[in-house]
Each structure stands twice: as structure tokens, then as C-alpha cells.
């Protein structure tokens, strides 16, 4: 599939990650880095700052982080920290660290003390979804808003927030539209390309991100007419922040199609919208706690365990049907308790839909990819 204009821009932002934020910084904007799908982008946008989701570099060995951060922390977190220490994001004005898991919470001070950024905020996201938790998280978001106002030297009004909510909802809607083109057999956009789009999109201010995706949709739609008819097995990948094309390349290099994801920079982020609420922070709190499906939120609903599984993973079955998924790869980072503890549950749930699952525990590094490749190829061969 040839690159066209939208994809060319995606390639540029993918291969020089953060370049647009760096440019905007040079022209006077403030850039705020954040981690994970729980980064409250709506508030950062409403404050007039450029939100930049941080990523590491899977091809780069960790050289500086180990002197400051224990190797028992999540390899993804260590790699991003290493990148940041090395100055790859030296244009950041500050960072927001959401409390996603122990590896974010317990290393938060390590980041704050070593990076000494002008702005730092630890966002204490609770793990629960009940009403008191939403109230509590609304207060936590209010605190963040207040501290950001102080840093930015401007008030963030409800109108600012409502506008930002709308812009991010639009961004998500457009991304879902692009996802829908993956439903075709074969999909109109490859898994490798899609991975690049997802990465590029999270490096841009929201409106630019939306335009970028629209450009890709335009390019990709044109492919429908001359699309081939045969296709290998359709694979879905599940995990947290997988932000490199390496695994997608292995899957597609083995003749399969990566047609859907449930990763934290993909469908986990783009499916749930923020509802417009009288106090916009309430809608934002509800989205992050109740709609974003990450294993760090404890979902209590369901009278039986089976109902509980449905509440936690039912959407995955919908993805399987909608995107005609034949096989799933569950890709979990070492030392990740939140994902690790639900491997048997999510694996069992998906298998109960008739879809085989390959579970891989790995590093955030290409150094171990040889092993991953062997396992993925064997799995794909097995499902034929």
C-alpha cells in the first residue's frame, strides 16, 4: 500500500516522535507530557497547553534510568523515563503523571526529583468506579485544574473545558471512523500503518490530530476499489502501551492481518467519549473511571462472576465480532501487576468466544523480539 499525503505526515510524526510539540514549543506554546490512557488531555487542552503522550524507544537500551529507578518497575515506564532523562523530551514544560498502577505511583517521585521540570503533577486516579469515587476523582481533577491554572497563568473556564471536551470527542469519533475501515476484508489500512497513526495522533494538539486522521481516512478510503480478496488470519492485539510497529510487523510479516487492538493508545482511548455535564469535570471523571477499560480500574458490577466478566470484557467480544477477529495476542509487560493478574480471566473470556489467544509476557524492547517472533509465528501457523 503506497503512502499518500496523510500517511506521509503520519510517517514523519511517527519517526520523529514529538517533533510537532517541539516546533510548537519553539513558537511559544507550553508542552505538557503525560503518561498512559488516564492522562486527562481535555484539561491540558482547555488550559491552552500542548498535551504530549510520552513514549519510549523500544530499540534503545536503557542506559541512564537504572541508576535511579529500580529494575522491578514496568519496563515501559523505565524506558520512557530513560528517554526523558536522556533529554529526548527536553522541550517539556511539565508533566502529569496519572496514578495508573504501582509502576507509575511508586516511581512518581523518581521522575519528579530527577527531571526537575517547571511543572509536575501527580494525578491521584482512584481504582474504583462507584459514585463516591467519581465525586472524589472530580475533586482530584479540580485540584489538577487549579494547579495548572497557576502554572499557565490563566483561568480555565467551564467553556474552555466544554470546548476541549468537544474537540477530543470529535478526535475520537474520527479515529473510530478510521478504525471502521479495518472491518473490511482485507482491511483498508494495515496494522503497521494503524500503529503509526495511533502513535502520531497522540503527539499532536487535538485539532491537528483530528485533521491528520481525516487525511489518513481520505487516503485509505481510496483503496477500497482495488483491494485484494484474499486475506490471512485476522488478529487483534491486547495490552497496555504498545507504541511501536515491531510487533505489528511480526504479525503481518507472518501473513496475518492486524485488524483490531485493545491497547491503551488505541481502542481503549478512542472508544469512550466524555458526556457533556453541567460541571464538565464530572463528565471527564466519569469517562476515565467508568468508560476507559483499563485493568487498573476495579469493576465491581455484576451479580455473578460471569456477569462481572461480561462487564469487564464484553466489549472485547463486540470487537471480535465487529472486526471479524480470528485470533488474539495478549501482550503484557513484565512486572505489570494490573494486566498480569487478569491474564487467566481475559484469556479465558476470549477463548470462550471461540477465538484462540496467545499470551506473551515481554519487555518493552526489541532485544527480545526474536523470541516473540518465534512464538507469534508458531501461534499463527497453529491456527492456520
Amino acid at each position: 500500500m503506497a503512502n499518500t499525503d496523510g500517511m506521509a505526515l503520519v510517517d514523519k510524526y511517527y519517526s520523529d516522535y514529538g517533533s510537532r510539540a517541539r516546533e510548537l514549543k519553539a513558537s511559544g506554546s507550553k508542552v505538557l507530557g503525560y503518561l498512559t490512557a488516564l492522562g486527562p488531555v481535555e484539561i491540558i487542552t482547555a488550559a491552552g497547553a500542548v498535551p504530549l503522550r510520552l513514549k519510549g524507544n523500544v530499540s534503545e537500551p536503557i542506559t541512564r534510568a537504572d541508576a535511579h529507578m529500580e529494575t522491578i518497575a514496568c519496563p515501559f515506564i523505565r524506558n520512557v523515563f530513560d528517554s526523558t532523562l536522556k533529554g529526548h523530551f527536553n522541550y517539556l514544560d511539565g508533566m502529569v503523571m496519572p496514578h495508573q498502577c504501582d509502576s507509575t505511583d511508586k516511581t512518581a517521585n523518581v521522575w519528579a526529583y530527577n527531571l526537575e521540570l517547571p511543572y509536575w503533577h501527580f494525578l491521584n486516579v482512584p481504582h474504583l468506579t462507584d459514585d463516591p469515587s467519581v465525586d472524589f476523582f472530580t475533586s482530584v481533577l479540580g485540584l489538577f485544574k487549579g494547579s495548572l491554572e497557576k502554572f499557565m497563568g490563566r483561568e480555565i473556564t467551564d467553556e474552555d473545558l466544554a470546548r476541549a471536551v468537544e474537540a477530543h470527542n470529535e478526535n475520537r469519533r474520527v479515529m473510530r471512523e478510521l478504525y471502521s475501515l479495518r472491518r473490511f476484508v482485507p482491511p483498508l489500512i494495515s496494522g503497521v500503518e494503524m500503529m503509526k497513526v495511533l502513535v502520531a495522533a497522540m503527539s499532536l494538539p487535538v485539532d491537528e490530530s483530528t485533521n491528520l486522521i481525516k487525511g489518513v481516512i481520505k487516503d485509505v478510503q481510496g483503496r477500497a476499489a482495488n483491494s485484494e480478496t484474499t486475506s490471512g488470519p485476522r488478529v487483534m492485539i491486547i495490552g497496555d502501551q504498545i507504541d511501536d510497529t515491531a510487533v505489528a510487523e511480526i504479525i503481518e510479516g507472518a501473513g496475518a492481518r492486524l485488524v483490531m487492538d485493545h491497547i491503551s493508545l488505541g481502542s481503549k482511548m478512542y472508544w469512550p467519549d466524555v458526556d457533556a455535564t453541567a460541571d464538565p469535570l464530572v463528565g471527564i471523571a466519569e469517562r476515565y473511571l467508568r468508560k476507559v477499560k483499563v485493568p487498573t480500574t476495579f469493576v465491581a458490577s455484576g451479580d455473578t462472576y460471569e456477569e462481572n466478566l461480561e462487564a469487564r470484557f464484553g466489549h472485547i467480544r463486540e470487537f471480535i465480532t465487529e472486526f471479524k477477529v480470528d485470533a488474539a495476542i495478549l501482550f503484557v509487560y513484565k512486572y505489570c501487576d494490573p494486566y498480569g493478574f487478569e491474564v487467566p480471566a481475559v484469556k479465558g473470556f476470549i477463548e470462550s468466544t471461540g477465538v484462540p489467544v496467545l499470551y506473551l509476557e515481554d519487555e518493552y524492547s526489541t532485544s527480545t523480539l526474536g523470541r516473540v517472533k518465534t512464538r507469534i509465528e508458531a501461534f499463527l501457523e497453529m491456527i492456520g
Partner: protein, 442 residues
């Protein structure tokens, strides 16, 4: 065959009673059904101890059982079962050890697996987890347990505290944190009422909360007797004497234990009896759960003339007059304040020393109060909760305080596979040399 290790020799008579108490705690979970009591899987530092006690719920402590398996070097068979179910070896081994045990007991239709350490754990009627900053397994472990005990209801409540941020006023946040925690504790009570079919007796709860307050004060007063030179009890014993405060809070037995320990330590102090005969170095156990299978390492320190008069581990509480708790008629709100202020009460000090942080202020306070010459940390690979951030604490301590000797040991709590006694002893020897050199310089 499990490789059982000779337990560490204990300095106090009180600590020697702990195995019996721990056994009794486990036995209570197995006996509960016959006595018509409900059993809850519970986890330490979740703040629901008093609720359970007031409702006659028998706690089955996950950490306790795994610790016992580890101390007996008999955890591997459970870890392997968990691993076979795709629970990674890098996950919290307290949890995976229990999960392996649970799977096995379910396979046997509720019968205890063969050769289970100390009679095993009774099947729970509920699981009481908690969502909080301390650790992910506190809510993921209950959820994973439910995968194998599908009929057992799970409650996870939120218990948070304002995170450390020198640019913010934590006092402004306390109210909404306490409100939230209180609401969650009330939700926990409602859940327990539903499972037990009994109503909470609020007067009884108030009495238990009062007993807990008195126990906490007594516990701190007792532990502070260890400031004495020579030190009458060290961390090796404290890894035993933590059992009542961690697993029996809210019971008279717990209070009585520290009363006895207090008397015993006073006696030792009067007789100038120390843990080691010739006390040369006083060390702070700065952070980290111990390697339960290698508690003998404390004795190795002792053999070099080193004692640990103080540790941060299992001291998740503070004398109440230092917390300045607001008055309230709601015992649950009191628990919430006690919880929040325990975590935040080093914040003011940390603010006053530029570049410092609360954990480090705590270390400095202990170093000074207990006259410590060095700090030892243990970094257990399967638990991020207590063990990620240790390097920073050591770094900041040296930066804002002084260049005090620090040893960071690496190992695990339950998984023995990464442990090498000879290496560990070599590292301790090298550290002792550093301490000695420091003394000579002084």
C-alpha cells in the same frame, strides 16, 4: 522435599510466642465454619481491621499464609501452580502463592492440599480488598481469587491519601480524602452486613476503635524503648512482633501482647541486656519486606555486632497525639483521619528541608532518634509497592542529610530462586567494613 531452614534465634520471649499466635489465626479460619462465623480473605494495611472484628468476621490474611510458606521454604509448589495458570513469576509472590493454594484447594473440593503449612487457610465467604496507593495486588489479587472461587463475593473500597507534592497544600485536600475514605468504609460495612446477615453494632465498633487507638499508642511506646543502648530488640524480632499489629488489630490479645513486650523490654533495659553483647553498629531497616526464607540474615548482622533498633516496615501507624486527629462521632471517619494523617504527617517536615521528601524525613527522624550509623534497604523483586523508589530515598537521604552508609539488598519475599546466602553475607561483610571505616573516621 522442602528445604526447611532453622528459624532465626529470637531475642525476646514475646517474639517466640508469635508462631503459636499465627498458627491460631490460621486455625481460626479453618474452624470458623463450625462456629458459624464468616471468613474474609483480607490484606494488611487496608484499614478495615476494626470493621471485621466488630462484625465477628474471621480474617484470613493472604500475606500471612504466603509468609509462612516462604519461611518454611515451601512456597514453590503453589507458585508453580499459579505459573501454570499463566500468572507470571514477576507478579507479587504473596498473591501468586495464595492463588496457587486456592486453585489446589478448589480442585480438592475444599479439602486442604496435602502437607499444607500449618493446616492451611479456610475457604473464605468474602474477600475484602482495597484500592489505594499502596499496591495494585490489593484489588487485582481479590479479582484474581474470584476467578477460582467464583461464588465468593468481593468488596474493594478506596483508601487514598493526598500524595506528596511540595507545591500543594495537602491540608486543603485532606477533607475530601477523608470524606471519600469514610464513605468507602461505610460501603464496606454495608457489604459485610449483607454477607454476614448481621447488622453492625456501632457501639461495639466504637469500643474496638478505641481499643485500637490505645493499642497503636502502646505499640509505638513499646517500639520506642528500642532507642535504648544497648538495643533490647531488633528488626529480626520485629518481623515477628509485627504479627499482632498487622493481623490482630482491634483485639484485646493484640493489646495484651504489646503490654507484655513492653514489660519485657523494660526489664531488659533495666538489666542492660542487648540483642548483641558488644553492640558496635546501629542500623535502620529503611524499607522493604524481608526475605522470609532468610530471616537468619538478621542474625548474621548480629554476629558482626550490628543491630537494627528500628525499621519502617510494618510500622504503618503512629502515636495518635502526633497526628492531631479532628474529633468525630463516626468511628469510621476517625479511622479515615487516622489513615490519612499517618501518611501525611511527615509532609510539613519534608517541606521545611528543601529537596527532601516525607519518606526521607522519616528515615532521618529514625536515624537521629535511634542513633543509627547506617541504613539497610531490601528490594524485593516481586513487590513494586514497597520496593520501587528505594534508590531515590537513599539518594535523597545522602543529599539532604549526610553521607550515611547505605546498603540496598536485592531478593524477594517468597521466591527463593534469586537468593544466594553466600553472596548476601559477602555484601553484608562489605557493608560492615564501610561502617567500621566510618566509625574510625569519626
Amino acid at each position: 522435599m522442602a528445604d526447611e531452614k532453622k528459624p532465626r534465634a529470637l531475642a525476646t520471649m514475646a517474639a517466640a510466642k508469635i508462631p503459636k499466635m499465627t498458627r491460631a489465626n490460621l486455625a481460626a479460619t479453618v474452624r470458623a465454619k463450625q462456629e458459624g462465623k464468616k471468613v474474609a480473605y483480607a490484606f494488611i494495611v487496608c484499614a478495615v481491621d476494626e470493621i471485621m472484628r466488630a462484625m465477628d468476621i474471621v480474617p484470613a490474611w493472604g500475606e500471612s499464609f504466603s509468609g509462612i510458606c516462604a519461611a518454611k521454604r515451601d512456597a514453590e509448589k503453589y507458585l508453580q501452580r499459579a505459573e501454570a495458570e499463566n500468572f507470571s513469576r514477576s507478579l507479587c509472590t504473596y498473591a501468586t502463592c495464595n492463588l496457587g493454594f486456592d486453585m489446589w484447594r478448589e480442585e480438592l473440593n475444599g479439602e486442604m492440599p496435602p502437607d499444607v503449612p500449618w493446616g492451611g487457610v479456610g475457604r473464605p465467604d468474602m474477600v475484602l480488598g482495597s484500592g489505594q496507593q499502596l499496591c495494585d495486588p490489593r484489588y487485582k489479587w481479590p479479582q484474581a481469587t474470584q476467578h477460582y472461587l467464583r461464588d465468593v463475593p468481593v468488596f474493594v473500597g478506596g483508601m487514598y491519601y493526598p500524595p506528596w507534592d511540595p507545591t500543594l497544600d495537602y491540608k486543603e485536600q485532606e477533607a475530601f480524602y477523608v470524606k471519600y475514605n469514610t464513605e468507602e468504609l461505610h460501603a464496606c460495612v454495608r457489604f459485610c452486613e449483607k454477607v454476614t446477615g448481621k447488622k453492625m453494632d456501632w457501639d461495639r465498633l466504637a469500643e474496638i476503635v478505641d481499643l485500637t487507638d490505645r493499642t497503636i499508642n502502646l505499640f509505638i511506646e513499646t517500639y520506642e524503648l528500642r532507642k535504648t543502648l544497648p538495643c533490647p530488640m531488633d528488626t529480626g524480632d520485629a518481623m515477628n512482633t509485627m504479627v499482632p499489629i498487622s493481623f490482630m488489630l482491634g483485639t484485646q490479645e493484640c493489646y495484651d501482647f504489646y503490654r507484655e513486650l513492653n514489660d519485657e523490654l523494660r526489664q531488659k533495659i533495666a538489666e542492660k541486656e542487648g540483642v548483641v553483647e558488644d553492640e558496635k553498629y546501629r542500623l535502620l531497616w529503611g524499607a522493604g519486606l524481608p526475605s522470609w526464607f532468610a530471616l537468619g540474615d538478621f542474625q548474621y548482622f548480629n554476629s558482626k555486632g550490628a543491630v537494627f533498633p528500628v525499621e519502617t516496615t510494618y510500622r504503618c501507624t503512629e502515636a495518635l497525639d502526633r497526628l492531631d486527629l479532628p474529633k468525630t462521632n463516626d468511628p469510621l471517619e476517625h479511622i479515615a483521619w487516622r489513615w490519612v494523617r499517618y501518611w501525611t504527617h511527615w509532609y510539613d517536615k519534608a517541606k521545611q528541608r528543601p529537596g527532601s521528601m516525607p519518606e526521607v524525613e522519616r528515615l532521618i527522624e529514625y536515624i537521629e532518634d535511634y542513633k543509627c550509623d547506617g541504613v539497610v534497604f531490601h528490594s524485593a523483586f516481586s513487590c513494586r509497592s514497597w520496593h520501587a523508589g528505594i534508590m531515590l530515598q537513599a539518594e535523597v537521604l545522602k543529599r539532604v542529610y549526610r553521607d550515611i552508609p547505605v546498603l540496598i539488598m536485592e531478593g524477594d519475599i517468597v521466591d527463593i530462586s534469586s537468593y544466594n546466602e553466600a553472596d548476601t553475607h559477602n555484601r553484608i561483610d562489605a557493608f560492615i567494613e564501610v561502617l567500621e571505616a566510618g566509625k574510625n573516621r569519626a
